[in-house]
Symmetry: C2
Subunit: 483 residues, 2 copies
């Protein structure tokens, strides 16, 4: 820290400050290119006058130690000779043995290229955030911050703010018929932390066998693998996970019954019963991933596994990433009573608790009915987009693609006809500036269904039309040789 | 979900809605005692008129399925016969074999009693949040939310918002002389997640040996134990961790050099060099916990280990829990380049990213100089409180307690004289309505120093005076038999 000793006159203060800043730059503690605080910030930090701070900067500027860029700020100059530091070893390029095996594997992977976003992009799992009433969110947030007792700014309950746990219990009970009270809810940073907390609470490394859907959602797998689970992959067909193919001795079954990721199908009623039977017989637990179950099209949905559960074996995972926005980072677990304390302990040593202001704002947003209103509005909008996409797929892409039946969520899967190479099709789409996903990317083994994935959360109807038209022309050209 | 099918007239809608709510209650999907949404929320959710929602509630009310409490809302009645559900088994009382070993150990511990807070409380690690300029925070937060592009509400970089990484690099470079740029910073949910991310990135379960200070901060230990580390405890004296007692083959050394937790001492310059030598020789890494290093009293601090590091072996962990407020849940790691990608991957499968609005607000708060101003203001206030406490300890408690020299942070440790039983002293304090911590609680083994801990972050000078006076009278009474 730069400390200005109390000095009798401002010239001494200035000389001290200048000397210390210069030394910090020469010794490399302030590295080349780093932005220095504004002079008023410098003055406030060190308790010197603004004039002194400005004068010190002026001296360094004239000596070439720092540079000023108009409108951007003051920076440590690049011309300063290399610091005394040993040049940083090139360890960044090699894989360092100080990382554990999982981390070394990550470090070995080629860095992903920042892709440019196509003009007509169908990204997966991204809701439309342009239609959020941010004004309401803002107002509630400001009100919550003013109303929060000061004690709430210190440490609070790891399981979540009581207000939010109550609001979530009401929301899940009411919209998804999940039987729960506030005490059953553990607040997490999005669904991803929910999976991570469950994995760390339930998995014994090297022993616990976890069944995942194939194809399935990679990040769930990543959380369980990181906890040391042994992964078993269960194929999925149009009725969801093929529950009858679960081997003996699986301890945890992860399933997305209301809108399978990525195929989009619904786990049939018969399989729901069979899965709960399996859990009872084998004393297994079920992780029910309801990531976008709020958005439903058509008939009344089947009961959630949690609703049907009589054995306290289901963990229901929900998130506000799709119904509100991902950057909020709030999700939740509705957990059976026997696992509550352990889950809360895991949350405590993982990150203590979630951001309190976001929790309180969300609680009020739900309680005042704004979430319900937003979901209802978006359901209408997503429904139209989905229909537009389905119409186009059925009318114009019938020889190549057949949509997988689904009743919920923010994306559609379409299987490619056997003679079609899905990856080639995706490349063709991209050359028409249309971005679609690949089913193949989420599958393991030869039996992976081949097809395309269309997220419709973040693309409007006009763009769906235009994009699908371009994609179609590209294919016609392919077949007939003329547009 | 309750779905109202499109119906020709409002009576049919009402009949449907009533039947569905009643069924949900009878089947236990809406459990007794749960609060129902307000009629306008119900109406918005289901797309029925407000009148229909009110009428449905009226019918259920008259039938006794729900109750209304003035000013509180509408609730599912407790008088409804028990649902068809199998009564929840009493598994909550026994330890369930479906938890892993760590979680079973947690579940076996007796539940902690909610203690009443003493009138004169000296809590550890809690800053004074009553003096925060929440009005400024609020204004910046609202401005950030309005200014954020919609894309920022979707998924963003796991390592943190670029604005915040830059602001933290400037802050750490400038106030702690930590040599870094924005690219070296990984944003975490407070220091606790920083430790957790490091443990999960570096520890090979059952193999990696991690040295911790004894006495030391329990939650750091919890994070490394959860990752499967083998713990080695190194004693601490008034010069910090006794680095010369590090055994061979330690892979990770966790240390709090600027203000050891809980003793409060500073790691000496000699030991800093010795520790860096150890790390170089043994190819170990150092986790430098700088949890409250912003608040300094007196001389210029010693250089951070990160500043002295020439081998890319130091991970510097900082937090805004003490300099701003804990409920913000933002901390950071300044990591060497070789570990960056792996840390970011761990963060990704742990919880994807931290709350974006909190990150952006904090970035602006720092960049505009408000953090520096707040720290400077609080430093003056904490300094007075600390002095008051020290004066009292030296003047009035000399026979019993001797303060441990320290130069930073938000708490003081005071060792008990050999003849004094520290735990009995703490109990005496509590009977005078004075809450102090116990050193013993943070130590392992017989060599643990005995003493008391006084946090002065969340207690003002008047209360420090009054509390210490009461504590003193209680002791005099003890000794002389009269007040």
């Amino acid at each position: 820290m730069l400390i200005v000793r109390s000095a009798p006159d401002s010239r001494t203060v200035l000389r001290d400050l200048h000397a210390q800043l210069k030394a910090a730059i020469l010794e490399g503690r302030l590295t080349a290119g780093i932005r220095l605080p504004a002079s008023r910030v410098l003055a406030a930090t060190l308790g010197v006058s603004r004039n002194t701070a400005v004068a010190a900067y002026d001296m360094l500027l004239s000596e070439g130690y720092i540079t000023a860029k108009a409108g951007a700020g003051t920076f440590v100059a690049n011309t300063v000779r290399a610091s005394q530091r040993t040049p940083r070893t090139q360890a960044g390029n090699a894989v360092d043995a100080r990382l554990n095996a999982t981390s070394r594997a990550v470090a070995r992977m080629p860095p992903s290229q920042a892709a440019t976003v196509p003009q007509f992009d169908f990204p997966l799992g991204v809701p439309d955030t342009t239609l959020l009433r941010l004004d309401i969110w803002n107002r509630i947030s400001a009100r919550c911050l003013r109303a929060l007792p000061h004690s709430a700014l210190a440490y609070g309950p790891a399981e979540g703010q009581p207000s939010l746990r109550g609001a979530i219990a009401g929301h899940a009970s009411f919209t998804r018929a999940v039987a729960c009270s506030a005490n059953d809810v553990v607040v997490s940073n999005g669904a991803q932390q929910a999976f991570d907390l469950l994995a760390r609470t339930l998995v014994t490394p090297g022993k616990t066998r976890v069944a995942l859907e194939n194809p399935g959602y990679g990040p769930v797998c990543a959380a369980f693998v990181a906890a040391g689970a042994r992964i078993v992959r269960i194929p999925v067909d149009v009725h969801g996970m093929q529950v009858h193919r679960l081997p003996e001795h699986v301890h945890i079954v992860c399933v997305s019954p209301s809108h399978q990721f990525p195929l989009g199908c619904v786990l049939s009623a018969q399989r729901r019963i069979a899965l709960l039977d399996y859990a009872r017989t084998h004393r297994a637990v079920i992780v029910e991933d309801d990531y976008d179950g709020e958005f439903r099209y058509g008939a009344r949905p089947l009961d959630a596994l949690q609703t049907l559960d009589r054995e306290q074996c289901v963990f229901f995972v929900g998130t506000f990433s799709k119904s509100l926005f991902p950057a909020l980072r709030i999700g939740y677990i509705v957990a059976p009573p026997w696992a509550q304390r352990a889950l809360v302990a895991t949350k405590t040593h993982t990150d203590r608790q979630s951001n309190v202001l976001a929790q309180e704002t969300l609680a009020a947003f739900i309680t005042q009915g704004h979430l319900a209103r937003h979901v209802r509005k978006m359901q209408g909008i997503y429904s139209s987009r989905r229909q537009r996409l389905l119409d186009s797929l059925r009318a114009d892409f019938a020889p190549w693609l057949s949509p997988v039946p689904s009743a919920a969520g923010l994306h559609l899967a379409a299987l490619t006809a056997p003679a079609i190479n899905a990856e080639a099709l995706i490349a063709r789409a991209l050359s028409a500036d249309v971005g679609v996903g690949s089913l193949n990317q989420y599958g393991h083994g030869r039996a992976t269904p081949q097809g395309l994935l269309f997220g419709f959360g973040a693309i409007d109807e006009a763009k769906i039309n235009a994009g699908m038209k371009r994609f179609r022309s590209m294919l016609r050209e392919e077949v007939t040789g003329s547009p």
